[in-house]
C-alpha cells in the first residue's frame, strides 16, 4: 500500500494527523495562552521558549497557530460533513432515478453553481453575522452543488454496470441495490473528494478570516493571523510566515491525499505506462544488397518495451516494391500490419525501438534525421488511414488541410494552393470542390472524407502511397469506388501502392503481390493470384476460409479462425501459429520455420508442413477443402497433411 501511494502521501497523512492532534489537544499542550500578551518580548524571532516567535503584542505565535487550526479544521470537517450529508443523497437520487428527478436536481444544481461562491459567502456572513456557526453553514451549503455533481456522476457509472443491472433485472428492491451495490462503490470517490473539499473549505474559511469575516477576535484563525502579521512584515516576517506555512502545508496535504485516493481508483493511471529503455532489437541485419527498386524494406523490426515484456510488433519483415505495383499486406487484427506501415514511415510512439533498413530509391530512410524525414514524408510517401472520421482535423476547414502540404512542401502561394486543392478534390471525384474547400470535416460523409484524405495524400505526387485499411470504415458500396479511385490514381501517376487490409476480397482484386502477416512476422508471401489460389501456410488458408462472401447462403455460419491471436509480449518458441493450427506437429513447437521457397516462382511460406502446391483453381480458391479440427494438434490432421503434401 505504502509503495503504491508513495512517500508524499504518507507525509501528507502524517501532517494532517499532527495538525489534528495539536488542534484537539491545544489546551493540554505546554503552550503559552494564545491571548496572553507579553508572553515574550514583542516581535521577537523564533527562540526556544517561543519556537515561532512572538507577535506585535508579544503573544506566542505557535500557540496562536495551533489554536487557529481548531477553527480551520473545525469549519473544514463540519462544512464537508454538511455538504456530504445533503449532497450525497441528492446525487445518488439523481444518478439512480434519472429522468425527472435527475433533471430537476441538476437544473437547480446548475443554477446554484452559477454563483461566485466566495462573494456570496462574504455577503451572507456579513448580513447574518460572523460566527463559527454561520461560516460553517455557509461554506457547507455552498459546497453542496459540487457534492451533488460528483456523487451523481459516480452513481451513474455504477448504475449502468452489469452487476447493478443484473440486480435490477432480478427484481432486487431499489433500497437494497443502493445500499449493497452503489453506496460502497461511490464511497471511494466520495472519500477522495472529502479531502479535496477540506482543502477548499480551509482556503475559503481562511479567506473570510483574512477579511475579518470569520470567527471574531480574540479567537485566532489562520487567515486572521496572516492579516495581522502582514503589518509587521518589515521587521518581523515570522509572524506572517508561520501561519502561512502551516496553512500551505495543510491545504497541500489535503489535496495530496485526495488526489492519491482518486488516482488509486482511476484505471487509466494504473501502471500501463510504457517503460522507456533501449533494447537490442534482435540480431544485426545480415549484409544485404541494396536493390535498384523503388522501396526496399530489410529486416524491419519494431519492439515495444513494456512492463509485461518486450512486445515484438514487427519482427524482421523484408519486401521490395516497384513503381506501378500494388503490394497488399494482410493478416488478422493485431498481426502487425499497421505497425509495419508506421515503422516504414518512422511514425512510431516514443516507447518503441526500431531496427532494420528502409530504402527509398536506394536511400536508407532509417538513417534520416527528423528534418530529412519530413522532406520525404508527404512529398514522396503518401499516407491514408483507416477511419476517415478521425483522419481529418475537426476544427480546420477542408481547404486549409488540403492546401497545407502544398504550401509547406511545394511553397505554393495561397491562390495557387487553393486552385490546386480544388483540382485535387475534383480528381478524386468530389463534386463542387470549391464549395467543399470551405466545409468542415463533420459536414461531409465518410466516403467524401476518405476521398479528401486520399486527395491530401496524393497532393505532392508521392512515389509510394500507403493505404492502411482505406475502406474498412466505409459502406460496402463506397468501398469499391474508393478502391477503384486508388487503382486509377496508381495508373495515372505511376505510383506504387502498399495496401493494408484484412478484407481478402479487396486484396485479391487489386493487389499484384501479397504479404501475409502473423504475430509481427511474414508467414507467406508471393504473387497475389498464386497465394490466394494455392495458399501454403495453414494460417493463410484459414484467413481465406474466414472471409465472408456475398454468395454465402443467408443463414450461413460465419467461419472464424479458431483460437486467439498470440500474446506478442510472450511468444512461444517455434511457430507462433501452431496452437491454432490443425496440421501442427512436434517440430512446429521446437523450431521457428524460416520463410522459404518451394520453387522459383517467388512464392514463399514460413511453414514446416506447407499445404499442397497443386490445389484447386483460382475461382474456387477461397472455398478450399475440409474444415480443420479446431484447437490442439491431432495426429489424424498431421496425416492429412501428409496425404495432401509431399
Amino acid at each position: 500500500m505504502r509503495r503504491r501511494l508513495g512517500l508524499g502521501f504518507c507525509l501528507a497523512v502524517g501532517w494532517i494527523g499532527l495538525v489534528l492532534l495539536a488542534a484537539l489537544l491545544a489546551d493540554l499542550l505546554p503552550l503559552a495562552r494564545y491571548d496572553e500578551t507579553l508572553a515574550g518580548p514583542p516581535r521577537s524571532g523564533p527562540s526556544l521558549a517561543h519556537p515561532f516567535g512572538t507577535d506585535g503584542l508579544g503573544r506566542d505565535v505557535l500557540s496562536r497557530v495551533v489554536h487557529g487550526a481548531r477553527v480551520s479544521l473545525g469549519v473544514g470537517i463540519g462544512a464537508v460533513l454538511l455538504g456530504l450529508g445533503v449532497g450525497a443523497p441528492l446525487g445518488i437520487l439523481a444518478g439512480y432515478r434519472r429522468r425527472a428527478t435527475d433533471a430537476v436536481i441538476m437544473a437547480v444544481n446548475d443554477v446554484a453553481q452559477a454563483f461566485p461562491a466566495l462573494v456570496f459567502a462574504l455577503a451572507v456572513v456579513a448580513f447574518a453575522g460572523a460566527s463559527l456557526r454561520n461560516v460553517l453553514i455557509v461554506l457547507g451549503v455552498l459546497g453542496i452543488p459540487s457534492w451533488v455533481r460528483l456523487i451523481r456522476g459516480a452513481t451513474l457509472t455504477f448504475a449502468e454496470r452489469e452487476f447493478v443491472l443484473a440486480a435490477r433485472v432480478l427484481g432486487a428492491r431499489d433500497r437494497r441495490i443502493l445500499w449493497r451495490e452503489i453506496v460502497p462503490n461511490v464511497a471511494v470517490p466520495a472519500a477522495s473528494y472529502a479531502f479535496i473539499g477540506m482543502a477548499v473549505v480551509v482556503v475559503a474559511e481562511g479567506s473570510l478570516a483574512f477579511l475579518g469575516l470569520s470567527v471574531q477576535a480574540p479567537t485566532p484563525t489562520w487567515g486572521g493571523l496572516i492579516n495581522e502579521g502582514r503589518t509587521l512584515m518589515e521587521d518581523a516576517p515570522h509572524v506572517v510566515l508561520a501561519p502561512s506555512i502551516a496553512m500551505f502545508l495543510t491545504v497541500l496535504s489535503f489535496n495530496l491525499v485526495g488526489d492519491r485516493l482518486r488516482a488509486m481508483t482511476d484505471v487509466r493511471e494504473s501502471g500501463l505506462e510504457p517503460v522507456r529503455q533501449a533494447v537490442a532489437a534482435g540480431p544485426p541485419a545480415a549484409a544485404h544488397p541494396v536493390r535498384d527498386t523503388l522501396l526496399q524494406v530489410e529486416e524491419l523490426r519494431t519492439h515495444f518495451v513494456t512492463p509485461r515484456g518486450v512486445v515484438k510488433a514487427v519482427d524482421g519483415v523484408s519486401f521490395t516494391l516497384d513503381r506501378g505495383r500494388t503490394l497488399a499486406i494482410v493478416g488478422e487484427s493485431g498481426s502487425g500490419k499497421s505497425m509495419l506501415i508506421r515503422s516504414v514511415l518512422g511514425l512510431l510512439p516514443g516507447s518503441s525501438v526500431r531496427d532494420g533498413h528502409v530504402y527509398l530509391s536506394g536511400d536508407d530512410l532509417t538513417t534520416h534525421g527528423p528534418a530529412e524525414m519530413r522532406s520525404v514524408l508527404g512529398r514522396r510517401l503518401g499516407t491514408v488511414f483507416q477511419d476517415p472520421m478521425t483522419a481529418l482535423n475537426p476544427v480546420r476547414t477542408i481547404g486549409t488541410q488540403v492546401m497545407e502540404p502544398l504550401r509547406v512542401h511545394l511553397r505554393m502561394s495561397r491562390r495557387q494552393a487553393r486552385d490546386e486543392a480544388a483540382r485535387l478534390l475534383a480528381s478524386v471525384g468530389i463534386p463542387d470542390p470549391v464549395r467543399v474547400l470551405r466545409r468542415y470535416p463533420h459536414q461531409l460523409s465518410g466516403g467524401m472524407r476518405q476521398r479528401v484524405t486520399i486527395a491530401m495524400a496524393l497532393s505532392c505526387r508521392p512515389d509510394v502511397l500507403f493505404a492502411d485499411e482505406p475502406t474498412t470504415a466505409l459502406d460496402v458500396t463506397i468501398q469499391d469506388q474508393v478502391l477503384r479511385l486508388l487503382h486509377r490514381q496508381r495508373e495515372e501517376r505511376d505510383m506504387a501502392v502498399v495496401l493494408v487490409s484484412h478484407d481478402l476480397s479487396v486484396v485479391a482484386r487489386w493487389a499484384d503481390e501479397v504479404i501475409v502477416m502473423y504475430a509481427g512476422k511474414v508467414v507467406e508471401r508471393g504473387p497475389a493470384a498464386q497465394v490466394f489460389a494455392r495458399p501454403r501456410m495453414p494460417y493463410t488458408e484459414a484467413l481465406l476460409r474466414a472471409a465472408p462472401r456475398l454468395t454465402d447462403p443467408v443463414h450461413h455460419e460465419l467461419r472464424v479462425i479458431p483460437g486467439r491471436p498470440p500474446d506478442l509480449a510472450g511468444l512461444p518458441a517455434g511457430c507462433a501459429f501452431r496452437a491454432r493450427c490443425g496440421y501442427a506437429q512436434e517440430r512446429c513447437a521446437i523450431e521457428t520455420p524460416p520463410l522459404s521457397a518451394q520453387d522459383g516462382d517467388g512464392h514463399r511460406q514460413a511453414c514446416w508442413f506447407p499445404l499442397e502446391v497443386a490445389g484447386p483453381d483460382p475461382a474456387t480458391a477461397a472455398q478450399l477443402t475440409r474444415p480443420p479440427a479446431a484447437g490442439a494438434p491431432a495426429p489424424e490432421n498431421a496425416s492429412g497433411v501428409e496425404s495432401r503434401g509431399r
Partner: protein, 312 residues
C-alpha cells in the same frame, strides 16, 4: 435553438441571482433597520428608514421595484454615504476589470507555452516539474501567495510598491507597476489550472489519427503542435476560463484588500464594515450578474473554437 435554450437559462439564473442578492438584506436573520441604525436609534428614525427602505411593502413588490431600478442602472442611494451606489460601483469597476484581465493575461500567457511544452515532452523533467509546481500553486491560498510575493518583491527587494493604485488614465507606467504584483498573485492559481488542463488535453489530441497523419505529411512538430493540436485541445481550457471566473472574482476581493486597490471587491468589504448594506448588495449583484453573463459568453465562444458545436 441551442442559443435560445441558453438564453432562457441565462434569464432564469439572472432572476435567481438578483433575487437572492436582494433577499440577503431582507430574509436573513437580523433586522436591517437595527443593523443600519444601531440599537440606540429613535422610533421615528426607525419608522422613517422602514419607509425609505420600503420595508412596509410585500417582499415581491419590493424586489420588482428594485429590479426595475437595476435595469435602469439605479442601484439605490447609500444610507451611509448618501451617494448613489451605481456611481460608486461604476467608479470602482475599471480597477477590478483591469486586475481580472491582467491576471488572465498572466495566467494564459504562462499556461499556453508551458502546457504545450509539457505535453510535447510528456513524462520528462519539465512535465514533472509542471505537475509539482501546479500542485503547489493550487494548494496556496491567494492571500498567502500575495503576502509572500509582497514580502519578497516589495519589502525585501523593493522592486514594486506593496500597495496603492495609480489609475491608467493618470500614468500608464505607474499603473502597470501597481497592477503587476496583484495580477501575478491572482494569475498564478489560474496558471496552474490552465496549464494542467491544456497539457492533459493536448496529450490526448496528439494521439489522434489526424495528428499522426499530419506527421505522415511531413509537417514540422512545431506546426503540428500549434496549428493542428492546440485548437482542438482548447475546449476544456475555455470552459475553465469561464468556470474559474468565480474563483478569480472571489480572489479580487482579497487581492484588492491585500494590495489596497480601489476596486469593487474592496468596496464590498469596506461597506460590510461600515454597515453600508445597499452598497454590499449592489456589489454582489454586479459581480454575480457579470459572472453569469461571462459564462454565457464563454458558451458562445465554444462554437467559434469548435465548428462541430455550431451544428448542434
Amino acid at each position: 435553438m441551442i442559443v435560445v435554450h441558453r438564453l432562457v437559462r441565462l434569464l432564469v439564473v439572472l432572476v435567481v441571482v438578483t433575487f437572492l442578492s436582494f433577499a440577503l438584506l431582507n430574509l436573513l436573520p437580523g433586522d436591517p433597520v437595527t443593523q443600519i441604525l444601531g440599537l440606540s436609534a429613535t422610533e421615528e428614525a426607525r419608522a422613517q428608514l422602514v419607509r425609505e427602505l420600503g420595508l412596509d411593502q410585500p417582499l415581491l413588490v419590493r424586489y420588482l421595484d428594485w429590479l426595475g431600478g437595476l435595469l435602469g442602472g439605479d442601484f439605490g442611494t447609500s444610507y451611509i454615504t448618501r451617494m448613489p451606489v451605481g456611481g460608486e460601483l461604476a467608479g470602482r469597476l475599471p480597477v477590478t476589470l483591469e486586475l481580472l484581465v491582467a491576471a488572465q493575461i498572466v495566467a494564459l500567457g504562462l499556461a499556453i507555452p508551458v502546457g504545450v511544452a509539457a505535453a510535447r515532452r510528456a513524462g520528462r523533467a519539465l512535465d514533472q516539474a509542471l505537475t509539482a509546481l501546479s500542485f503547489a500553486l493550487l494548494s496556496t491560498p491567494v492571500f498567502v501567495l500575495g503576502v509572500l510575493l509582497i514580502l519578497v518583491f516589495a519589502v525585501t527587494w523593493q522592486v514594486v510598491p506593496a500597495t496603492g493604485w495609480t489609475p491608467i488614465t493618470l500614468d500608464l507606467g505607474w499603473n502597470l507597476t501597481s497592477v503587476v504584483l496583484p495580477a501575478i498573485t491572482l494569475g498564478c492559481g489560474q496558471f496552474a489550472v490552465y496549464a494542467r488542463l491544456l497539457r492533459t488535453d493536448l496529450i490526448a489530441t496528439l494521439q489522434e489519427d489526424y495528428i499522426t497523419l499530419a506527421r505522415a505529411r511531413g509537417l514540422s512538430p512545431r506546426r503540428i503542435l500549434w496549428r493542428h493540436a492546440l485548437r482542438p485541445s482548447a475546449i476544456s481550457l475555455i470552459t475553465a476560463i469561464g468556470l474559474n471566473l468565480g474563483a478569480l472574482i472571489g480572489g479580487t476581493v482579497i487581492i484588492e484588500t491585500l494590495f489596497g486597490l480601489p476596486g469593487v471587491g474592496r468596496l464590498i468589504v469596506d461597506s460590510i464594515f461600515s454597515r453600508d448594506y445597499l452598497t454590499v448588495q449592489g456589489g454582489v449583484v454586479l459581480i454575480s450578474v457579470g459572472y453569469v453573463v461571462v459564462n454565457f459568453a464563454v458558451d458562445l465562444v465554444y462554437a467559434a473554437v469548435d465548428p462541430r458545436i455550431r451544428r448542434a
